[in-house]
């Protein structure tokens, strides 16, 4: 029996073209992932395209989103008999229940496996294609390709098939099967969100049926080399996960086997009870007179009442309620994580929450629109009421339009409920400034238009395609395409119909410049999709003939009767709005696709690089006049530059760099142009002839009539302005906004070839036929000391600026305020620096409120908007603590003021200019200080970091080569950590360091070029920030705080404000070396000169009580030391290191490990060390390197609980 059913199932699916379609789809996906540049999401940078890790991830993700396919095959295995009515025939044969169920299931499962096997096959075939560049591929190992298939795909498919099969068999409703699939997907998303909290990684890995999280956690700390060669082993969390979900599949199948009956689905008992017994004849009144109306007004009323009819039916459906609930839960979790990104805490301001409400709806919009759009289009046909309806005189647009409106409203209701929920969450956190108007704006401008467009799209597709399942597939595929298309470089918004437009809402600047773009895109989407819906309506089947010839006849008639007008109207609107957008994005703002922009930059490099080594004068003075026009989002500036020729060669050709308007890539996927920028004049104090004018590309070449000799000074007066035109497709230039402007020195002309303009990414360079270039010059290259890494055009400059802005705003630039006045209704400020600064300055402006304090002769000022007063005390405290500690232990603070200035959330960083710190509204200013020993005060930390830069960066600055960011960023991070530890205690510092360790280890795995030791860091954030703070903190722990400070202050004393020649990291290393005793010099070497890793583990810890009340503790500790290379391959080295060993007692507040009973440094020389110690109180925990000062990929096994020795 089983064989018959099984063979039938197989042959049923093998004969269907749909099966081949799925197979082909997966094959092509995998093929293009290896054979082309197309999908760079999984494999990027150094990771090979056919890395086992890539395949594992791809399979895991595709079993999740490939649910539509699993639904079609496994879900319908039993359902089909109910749907087609063959149940009665089948169940009265001799087929046994087990034969039937097992046969159907195994057949469906085998088909699923065959389809998914297209993935490893496609990957293999793709990897042997001759045109694939060799460095993108690893060796072809068949085993490595198929192992992920068997460990990930097979169990995934087993579980998902079992689940959908069970739902299908037990409910006999296809809709329930769809919804189960959706619930599964979202439940998975929620799991992924929970893993954001590090401590729950294990649990999250276990409860992920697709193993996506499991794979990610397993490879979290893998280096690039490991990701390229190793398969994710079937061990540990992965093995447990597989067992759990295979067991779940078996349980599901057992449930089905028990509950299923070879019988028809019984009508519910309650229906039975309601079957009426009709009484005999009632007095029949005469048939009332009715007037029949066929005019437009009556049909419109019918349209309205039918909308209500269909809406009510949707709202009562359990699947709709289930999806709504999932959406809301998902939203709440999203909002929660907005409030707590990576263990920090932020106030739930509306500018943070409302966009989540607006954007989080999209995937649910797509789901509801296609599910219910499809269901409603097919409703009458499915319940067999279609002939009844089609024979009435109702015009086809009435039921179709009513259904469209009903589906749209069912989605609209969700977003209103979501906003209410969001506001409730804000209130529950004690935040009362709800700003309902902003929610309403987001709903009306962003969420609802997208919902209407997608609904119209779904209904149009279903009407056109006339095959429900294919309709669903098309809509889902469209959504998937939308996700992917941007990463392929097709990011023009006109292609991305229905997707909610991008926007940033700022508490400072409100909707800013986004409104016209948002409106145009939203209405364009609506018009486009309504055009499609109209076309669908034209060919919507009516009657019993679904052939194209019948539909053509219907279409012709409907076209004449108003279809032409409707389609035409929507079509024209779409075209007009499309043109409006095109005009703004392409004409006014020169939209360029990223690859074209890259080619432009390549051409620029080819043309101008030969001029790189022309001698250029060095800037010595900047005198600037800056004007902001916030209401127009415009600015103008003019000023004088003075530059000196320090080169022995005379300068006769000046290479002047000006701000370009041409498109430049801003990331791997996007390019922007700066069409609003213009250079109005450039006048030299001597005879200079313009020999090349390539202002759009930022280059002007001047020939000096009389060459500039060494030591001579040149002055130039310049004027420029910025006036934005329309709106771009991608990122706006938001440097100037109505309230919150921030422009830096890049708008001012400079001298010399700007190497930073060149394409830096290896892959981008190769793509454009350029050789990859070294990220940075080697540390010992003498040319490194000739310029600093902040500015290649200048050393130290004298600086003064007058800045004017609107009458109700304050404008700030580095320097001390000389005077403030009003002219022509505008407010002006004059600033002047009384000592030289780096060529690194910025001008800000907004309607600020200023919070001031005076601290030991330094004026502390925070410029912020009135609503963002949350973190001011933290910022002030950090400033005071920093001024104290750094001033005492490093060197005196150079300035008489320290100003923190808020700027809009268009960028999310803080930056240190001389005595001026712009700080984004999105970080810091809305941070919330939480109580608790292990809570990190991020506002404090970031303020401290930026203050530390006033020493590390603005007093001493490194040369333009490897290692310089080690002592600017690394020391800034370390300095901030130091005062934070003093203020908040060791617990907070430890927590912070654990986070830094995680960041470093994860960052290694995504390295695009090569990893380097800290001393040679090439501006890699995961090294200079994360590893930097770990290394300096560890060193301080070994040599002591005084020695550390002695080294740092000596370094400052020697190199502050010097240059050229500038210091390099070797100079700092030298000072540190002087303070390090011989026995510990290996530490210095391990931390800075090499990439050192440990695998420390506490193996055994037992205790027994001694007669005198103290305790013996017996410890067995494992220690392994490894050195790594640039791709992360490690090799073991002998260990002879001092490592902390700790024994801890009961928990005490402030100490996560417990009361320290014994902590000392022990010299470890063996892989296994046995230690016996005595402590005074009962030990609870013990371990090696308990504070995780050493870099270890499994930090959590360093400490274990102490057990009683028997």
């Amino acid at each position: 029996m089983f064989w018959t059913v099984f063979k039938f199932e197989l042959s049923y699916w093998f004969r269907r073209p749909l099966t081949l379609l799925f197979f082909a789809l997966f094959f092509l996906l995998a093929f293009f992932a290896t054979a082309s540049d197309a999908f760079i999401g999984f494999a990027s940078g150094q990771i090979h395209r056919n890395a086992p890790f890539v395949l594992a991830t791809m399979i895991a993700v595709l079993t999740a989103i490939g649910q539509v396919i699993t639904t079609a095959i496994a879900g319908t295995a039993v359902l089909r008999d109910a749907q087609l009515g063959t149940e009665e025939l089948l169940f009265t044969t001799r087929v046994s229940k087990s034969g039937y169920l097992v046969g159907r299931f195994v057949g469906a499962f085998i088909i699923m496996l065959v389809i998914y096997s297209a993935l490893p096959i496609g990957l293999l075939v793709g990897s042997v294609m001759p045109w694939v560049p060799a460095e993108k591929m690893g060796p072809v190992q068949i085993a490595a390709v198929f192992q992920p298939f068997f460990t990930i795909a097979v169990p995934n498919l087993l579980f998902v098939s079992a689940l959908l099969f069970a739902v299908g068999a037990l409910t006999r409703r296809l809709f329930a099967v769809y919804v189960t699939g959706i619930i599964l997907l979202v439940a998975w998303q929620i799991t992924q969100a929970i893993v954001g909290q590090l401590d729950k990684v294990r649990l999250a890995s276990l409860i992920d049926p697709f193993a996506i999280t499991t794979v990610n956690s397993a490879v979290r700390y893998w280096s690039v080399a490991e990701k390229n060669t190793q398969v994710v082993p079937l061990a540990g969390a992965m093995a447990q996960n597989r067992m759990v979900w295979i067991a779940a599949a078996i349980v599901l199948f057992a449930v089905v086997a028990t509950v299923f009956r070879l019988r028809l689905q019984q009508a519910r008992a309650s229906h039975r009870a309601r079957k009426a017994t009709v009484a005999e004849r009632v007095v029949v009144p005469p048939t009332p007179a009715v007037t029949l109306h066929y005019d437009r007004a009556s049909w419109i009323r019918a349209f309205v009442s039918q909308s209500r009819f269909h809406l009510r039916s949707i709202l009562r459906e359990p699947p709709y309620l289930a999806i709504s609930l999932i959406y809301l839960i998902n939203l709440m979790i999203g909002l929660w994580f907005q409030m707590r990104p990576q263990e920090s805490a932020r106030w739930p301001v509306t500018s943070l929450f409302a966009p989540v409400v607006g954007n989080g709806l999209f995937v649910f919009t797509v789901l509801l629109a296609t599910l219910y759009g499809g269901e409603l289009v097919w409703r009458e046909r499915q319940i067999k009421a279609d002939q009844l309806q089609d024979a009435t005189p109702v015009p086809t647009w009435v039921p179709f339009g009513a259904k469209l409106l009903a589906v749209f409203l069912s989605i609209a209701i969700l977003v209103f409920v979501a906003s209410a929920g969001s506001m409730l969450m804000q209130l529950s956190q004690g935040y009362a400034r709800l700003e309902p108007a902003v929610y309403l704006q987001v709903i009306v401008l962003i969420a609802l238009p997208s919902a209407l467009a997608i609904t119209a799209l779904a209904m149009g597709v279903h009407a056109l395609v006339n095959q429900k399942f294919v309709g669903h597939l098309i809509i889902i595929a469209y959504w998937v395409l939308l996700q992917v298309v941007s990463s392929l470089g097709f990011d023009h918004r006109l292609y991305q119909v229905g997707r909610p437009p991008d926007f940033t809402y700022s508490d400072m600047a409100g909707w800013g410049p986004y409104t016209p773009r948002v409106l145009t895109i939203s209405y364009y989407s609506i018009a486009f999709c309504l055009t499609l819906a109209s076309l669908g309506l034209l060919v919507l089947v009516r009657g019993t003939d679904a052939s194209w010839s019948a539909r053509q006849i219907l279409a012709a008639k409907r076209w004449r009767r108003g279809g032409a007008v409707a389609t035409g109207a929507f079509g024209v609107a779409a075209i007009v709005l499309g043109f409006l957008f095109f005009h703004n994005a392409n004409t006014l703002n020169a939209y360029t696709e990223v690859h074209a922009a890259e080619r432009g930059v390549k051409a620029w490099e080819v043309k101008y690089k030969p001029l790189q080594h022309l001698p250029s004068p060095r800037l010595v003075r900047v005198s600037l006049r800056h004007d902001y026009y916030p209401e127009r989002r415009a600015a103008a500036w003019h000023g004088t530059l003075a530059a000196v020729n320090r080169d022995a060669r005379p300068v006769d050709t000046l290479f002047v760099t000006v701000p370009p308007s041409a498109p430049r890539p801003t990331s791997l996927f996007e390019a922007t142009s700066n069409t609003g920028v213009a250079l109005d004049s450039l006048v030299f104090d001597r005879d200079a002839q313009l020999v090349l004018d390539d202002t759009p590309n930022g280059v002007r070449l001047y020939r000096l009539a009389k060459p500039l000799a060494q030591g001579d000074t040149l002055t130039v007066r310049f004027a420029g302005r910025f006036e934005p035109r329309g709106y771009p497709n991608d990122a706006f230039n938001n440097d100037v906004s109505a309230n919150g402007s921030f422009m830096n020195m890049q708008y001012v002309p400079s001298f010399g070839y700007p190497e930073q303009t060149e394409l830096s990414d290896d892959e981008a360079r190769r793509r454009n036929g350029l050789e990859p270039k070294p990220r940075m010059k080697k540390i010992d290259d003498p040319v490194v000391r000739a310029t600093n890494y902040i500015s290649q055009e200048a050393d130290w400059i004298t600086f003064d600026e007058t800045t004017c802005t609107a009458a109700d705003q304050i404008s700030i630039a580095p320097g001390y305020l000389q005077r403030e006045w009003t002219e022509n209704g505008r407010r002006c400020f004059q600033y002047k620096m009384d000592r030289p600064i780096l060529n690194f300055y910025a001008t800000l402006s907004a309607r600020y409120e200023v919070t001031k304090a005076d601290y030991n002769g330094v004026k502390l000022e925070i410029y912020h908007i009135p609503e963002h007063a949350f973190a001011l005390p933290s910022m002030m405290q950090a400033s005071k603590d920093g001024l104290d500690y750094f001033g005492k232990n490093f060197s005196p603070y150079l300035y008489r003021q320290y100003r923190i200035i808020e700027f809009p959330r268009y960028a999310g960083f803080a930056q240190a200019f001389p005595n001026t710190i712009p700080y984004s509204e999105g970080i810091g200013f809305i941070y919330r200080k939480e109580e608790g020993d292990d809570k990190i005060d991020f506002a404090y930390f970031v303020t401290a970091h930026e203050l530390a830069h006033q020493w590390w960066g603005h007093q001493v600055v490194g040369g333009n080569g490897q290692g310089s960011t080690m002592f600017s960023e690394g020391l800034a991070e370390y300095s901030a950590l130091t005062i934070m530890e003093k203020r908040f205690g060791r617990e907070a510092a430890q927590k912070f360091l654990r986070r830094e360790l995680d960041g470093y280890l994860r960052g290694r795995g995504t390295e695009r070029k090569k990893e380097v030791p800290l001393l040679y860091v090439e501006n890699q954030p995961y090294i200079h920030y994360q590893k930097g703070s770990l290394a300096f903190y560890a060193l301080r722990d070994y040599i002591g705080e005084d020695a550390m400070n002695a080294a740092l202050s000596a370094f400052l004393a020697k190199w502050a404000l010097k240059g050229p020649p500038y210091p390099t990291a070797r100079d700092l290393y030298g000072e540190l070396d002087k303070q390090t005793p011989d026995s510990l010099k290996y530490v210095l070497n391990d931390l800075f000169e090499e990439m050192t890793f440990y695998e420390n583990k506490a193996d055994t810890a037992t205790t027994s009580k001694r007669p005198d009340g103290s305790w013996d503790v017996h410890l067995v500790l494992d220690a392994k030391k490894l050195k790594g290379d640039s791709v992360g391959t490690t090799k073991e080295v002998p260990i002879a290191d001092y490592v902390d060993v700790g024994v801890y007692g009961d928990r005490v507040p402030g100490q996560k490990l417990g009361e320290p009973l014994l902590v000392k440094k022990v010299k470890i020389t063996q892989p296994v060390t046995v230690l016996d110690v005595i402590v005074s109180k009962e030990p609870k925990k013990a371990g090696i390197d308990p504070y995780n000062k050493l870099i270890d990929r499994t930090p959590e096994d360093n400490v274990i609980a102490v057990s009683n020795r028997r």
Partner: protein, 294 residues
């Protein structure tokens, strides 16, 4: 108003010739269309009900050209298809209201009165609040006819309405049909000869896409009066009888075969002339036509 069908033909994409040169003339009143399964009745009904196109021929309903003016037809049409369903979770009242609105009864007050009247007329008043999904076959059919009547139709088409109903329900339904006014064209398409005999003033027999007979049932019976013979035969005689005579039907009565035979003159011993009934005519015609095809 008359319904004139002229030379209507329809062949489906899979080659089945559903209608071949069908011509019928249908006046107001009950018209019965008889034919076996697969004769083309439903195809014809759906074509008149504007749900399908034909390959050739024309249909005129009064002044209206049905094939090219479906909207005008739908305004005066009431159609009860052979197989249909309704929104199972909704009440009879709600469903009827929904369809009445689609038929053009725009005024909600008028519509409500109409719905109540129709429910009473079809004896569904007590069940009006009950969910349609729980209705018995007969109740569903009655609701269907209520829907068909909701737009004050001038043309009512009912396709196989009593198949599967128990005798009580069947009678109730036929009673309802008979009460639809005399000035309305009502086409009853069925394979149950009794229904046509009871209700219809005119009839036609259709088989394999062709009209084999058209006219007044009484006239039709007159034509065969005296030509129908009956005999109680033994099982062993059947083969010989079938070869020799025009056997219309073979029935079992108390286990013994009883045959009806068509013959202009007496067919022989044991045969008795009987009063013809419509079934004899039907079986004779359908059988003859089938034989003619062979």
């Amino acid at each position: 108003m008359n319904l004139s069908i002229a030379n209507l033909s329809k062949t489906y994409a899979n080659g089945v010739r559903a209608l071949q040169d069908v011509s019928l003339d249908i006046p107001a009143g009950m018209f019965g269309l008889l034919g076996p399964n697969g004769a083309g009745k439903s195809t014809l009904m759906r074509t008149i009900a504007t749900l399908q196109q034909a390959d050739a021929g024309s249909i005129r309903l009064g002044d209206i050209d049905v094939l090219t003016q479906p909207d005008d037809v739908r305004k005066i049409l009431g159609y009860l298809p052979q197989e249909f369903g309704l929104y199972p979770n909704l009440s009879a009242e709600r469903v009827l209201d929904h369809f009445a609105e689609m038929k053009g009864v725009a005024n909600s007050g008028e519509r409500r009165d109409l719905v109540h009247a129709l429910l009473k007329q079809t004896n569904l008043w007590d069940a009006r609040k009950k969910a349609v999904g729980g209705f018995s076959g007969g109740m569903k059919q009655r609701l269907g006819i209520a829907i068909a009547l909701a737009g004050r139709p001038r043309l009512v088409i009912v396709d196989e309405p009593t198949a599967g109903l128990d005798p009580n329900e069947r009678h109730r339904f036929l009673n309802l049909l008979s009460e639809i006014g005399d000035d309305v064209i009502v086409i009853l398409s069925t394979h149950i000869v009794e229904d046509v005999r009871e209700l219809c003033r005119r009839m036609a027999i259709i088989n394999e896409g062709r009209v084999v007979l058209q006219g007044d049932p009484n006239q039709v019976l007159d034509e065969v009066r005296g030509h129908i013979w009956r005999k109680r035969a033994a099982k062993s005689e059947l083969v010989a009888l079938r070869a020799a005579l025009d056997v219309i039907s073979v029935r079992l009565v108390a286990g013994e075969p009883v045959i009806h035979v068509y013959s202009e003159s007496t067919p022989g011993d044991g045969f008795v002339a009987v009063e013809p009934n419509l079934e004899d005519v039907y079986l004779h015609r359908v059988g003859t036509a089938a034989l003619a095809e062979a």
